[in-house]
C-alpha cells in the first residue's frame, strides 16, 4: 500500500507539471478572448469543480453521520469542507483575475460569481458553527444537519440569480447545445487538468483523514495512560 501510494503521489506531481507546461506552452489561446486570458480555464474551472465536489463529499458524510453516528464521518465532512474552502477561494481569485482582464472589472455580480460567494459563505458558516460547539458529538450532529440543509437550499440561487443579471461568464464546459466546443489541444489539457485536480483533492483529503486518525489515536492513548 505504502509503495503504491508513493508511486501515485509522484505520478500526480509529474502529471501536474505536464499540465502546467501544456496549459502555457502547448495549447493555443482560444479565439474570442483577450490575449492569453483563456489559459486560466485550465486552472480556474478544475478549482471550481473541486470546490463543488468537496461540498458534495461533505454533504454525503454529513448524511452518513446522522444515519450511523460514527465520529469518523463527521471528521471526514469537516475535512472536505476545509479543503473545499481553500479551492473555493482559489476559484474566486482566479475568476476575478479573468474578469478583470476580460471585462475590465474584478467583480460583476455575474451569476457564477454570486454562487461561488454563497458557497464561501456556507463553508464559512459551517466551520464557524463547528467552532461554536464544544462537545464533539453535539458539534457533529449540528454541523451535519446544517450542511445538509445548506446542500438543498444553495442550488436555488443558481435558478434565482440568472433571472436578475444576465451572465457574462463564458459557456459552461458542456454548453446549451450539448456539445463540448473546444479545439482538441485545449480539450486534452482541460480534461487532464480536471482529472489531476480531482486526484489532488482526494490525495489531500486522504492526508487529512490520516491526520485526524492519528490525532484520535493519540488522544485515546493519552487517556489510557492517564487512567493507568
Amino acid at each position: 500500500m505504502g509503495g503504491l501510494r508513493i508511486l501515485l503521489q509522484w505520478f500526480l506531481g509529474l502529471v501536474m507539471v505536464v499540465i502546467i507546461w501544456g496549459a502555457f506552452l502547448w495549447a493555443r489561446a482560444a479565439a474570442n478572448f483577450v490575449g492569453q486570458s483563456s489559459r486560466i480555464v485550465f486552472f480556474h474551472v478544475p478549482q471550481a469543480w473541486v470546490a463543488f465536489l468537496a461540498f458534495l463529499v461533505a454533504a454525503i458524510h454529513s448524511g452518513l453521520y446522522l444515519k450511523n453516528r460514527r465520529i469518523e464521518n463527521d471528521e471526514a465532512a469537516a475535512g472536505a469542507a476545509r479543503l473545499g474552502i481553500v479551492f473555493c477561494v482559489l476559484a474566486t481569485i482566479t475568476g476575478s483575475i479573468f474578469a478583470k482582464v476580460m471585462w475590465n472589472s474584478y467583480w460583476n455580480w455575474d451569476p457564477r460569481e454570486t454562487s461561488i460567494v454563497l458557497l464561501l459563505l456556507v463553508y464559512g458558516a459551517y466551520l464557524g458553527l463547528r467552532g461554536a460547539v464544544e462537545e464533539p458529538e453535539r458539534r457533529a450532529t449540528l454541523s451535519a444537519a446544517y450542511a445538509l440543509a445548506a446542500f438543498v437550499t444553495v442550488p436555488f440561487l443558481m435558478f434565482a440569480v440568472p433571472r436578475l443579471y444576465s451572465s457574462l461568464h463564458p459557456d459552461t464546459v458542456i454548453n446549451a447545445r450539448g456539445k463540448v466546443e473546444m479545439s482538441t489541444d485545449i480539450r486534452v489539457v482541460f480534461f487532464s487538468s480536471i482529472a489531476a485536480f480531482t486526484a489532488l483533492f482526494f490525495w489531500l483529503y486522504s492526508l487529512d483523514r490520516k491526520v485526524s486518525r492519528i490525532v484520535r489515536e493519540a488522544a485515546r492513548r493519552q487517556e489510557q495512560e492517564f487512567a493507568a
Binding site: L129, Y146, L157
Partner: protein, 229 residues
C-alpha cells in the same frame, strides 16, 4: 387515553408560545422596535425625494427586504434560544414529538413575522412613497417570502440554541440559507412595483414556492436530530 396527533400537539406548542410571548412581549417589542428604528433611519437617509423616479423600484424593494430580514434576525431565534436558556427544552422534548415542536415553533415565528409585516409594510409604503403596480403579486411575494424566511430561520434557531455565541451565529448561519429566497423576493417586489400584470412575476412565485417546500421538508426531516441533541 389516545395519543394526540402531531397537528394538535403542534397547535398546543404554538398556543403555549403565544401565551408565554404575550406575558413578556420581549420578542414582539424587540422586533417592532428594531423594525421601527431601521425604518426611521432608512426613511430619513434615503427618503422618497433623494432617488429618481426610475430608480425607486430597485432601491425600495431592496430596502424593504433588508428591513424585514434584519428584523427577523433580531427576534426569530428566541423560540428555541429561550427554551434552552430557561431550561425548559427538556420538558418540551418530553411532552411532544419533534415534528410537532418544529411545526408549532414555525407557526409561532410566522405569527411574529406577520405582525412585523403588518407594521413595516404600510409604514414603508407611506414613508418612501413606494407605489405598487400589481398588488396580488406583491402580497404573494410577501407571503411566500416570509414563509421561507420563517421556515429556514426556525431551523437555524434550533441549531444555534445548542451552540455558544448564539446571537452572532444565528445571522451567520441563516444568511447562506436565506440568500436565494431573498434575492428572488427582492426581484419579485421590484416586478410588482413596475409591471401591472401578475404574469411577469410568475417564475419568481414558482421559485419561492419551490424553496418554501424544499426548506420546510428538509428542516422537518433534520429537526429531530438537532432537537434531540
Amino acid at each position: 387515553m389516545s395519543r394526540p396527533s402531531v397537528l394538535s400537539s403542534s397547535i398546543a406548542v404554538f398556543q403555549k408560545d403565544l401565551r408565554s410571548e404575550w406575558r413578556t412581549r420581549t420578542a414582539v417589542s424587540a422586533l417592532l422596535l428594531f423594525a421601527f428604528a431601521v425604518l426611521i433611519l432608512v426613511g430619513y437617509a434615503v427618503g422618497p425625494a433623494n432617488i429618481s423616479r426610475e430608480d425607486r423600484p430597485v432601491v425600495h424593494s431592496v430596502l424593504l427586504w433588508i428591513v424585514i430580514f434584519f428584523s427577523a434576525m433580531t427576534g426569530l431565534s428566541r423560540v428555541f434560544v429561550h427554551e434552552e436558556e430557561s431550561g425548559t427544552a427538556a420538558a418540551l422534548r418530553l411532552s411532544a414529538p419533534s415534528a410537532a415542536i418544529y411545526l408549532g415553533k414555525l407557526l409561532a415565528n410566522l405569527a411574529l413575522l406577520a405582525l412585523v409585516l403588518l407594521f413595516v409594510v404600510p409604514l414603508f409604503l407611506a414613508l418612501m412613497s413606494f407605489s405598487i403596480a400589481c398588488w396580488p403579486l406583491f402580497l404573494l411575494v410577501l407571503l411566500l417570502g416570509s414563509i421561507g424566511l420563517a421556515a429556514a430561520s426556525t431551523f437555524t434557531a434550533a441549531i444555534v440554541s445548542k451552540a455558544s455565541a448564539k446571537g452572532a451565529m444565528f445571522a451567520v448561519l441563516a444568511i447562506p440559507l436565506l440568500l436565494p429566497p431573498l434575492v428572488a423576493a427582492v426581484s419579485g417586489t421590484r416586478i410588482a412595483a413596475t409591471e401591472s400584470g401578475i404574469a411577469a412575476g410568475l417564475d419568481i412565485l414558482q421559485l419561492l414556492l419551490a424553496y418554501d417546500g424544499v426548506v420546510t421538508t428538509a428542516a422537518f426531516l433534520l429537526f429531530d436530530a438537532v432537537f434531540r441533541e
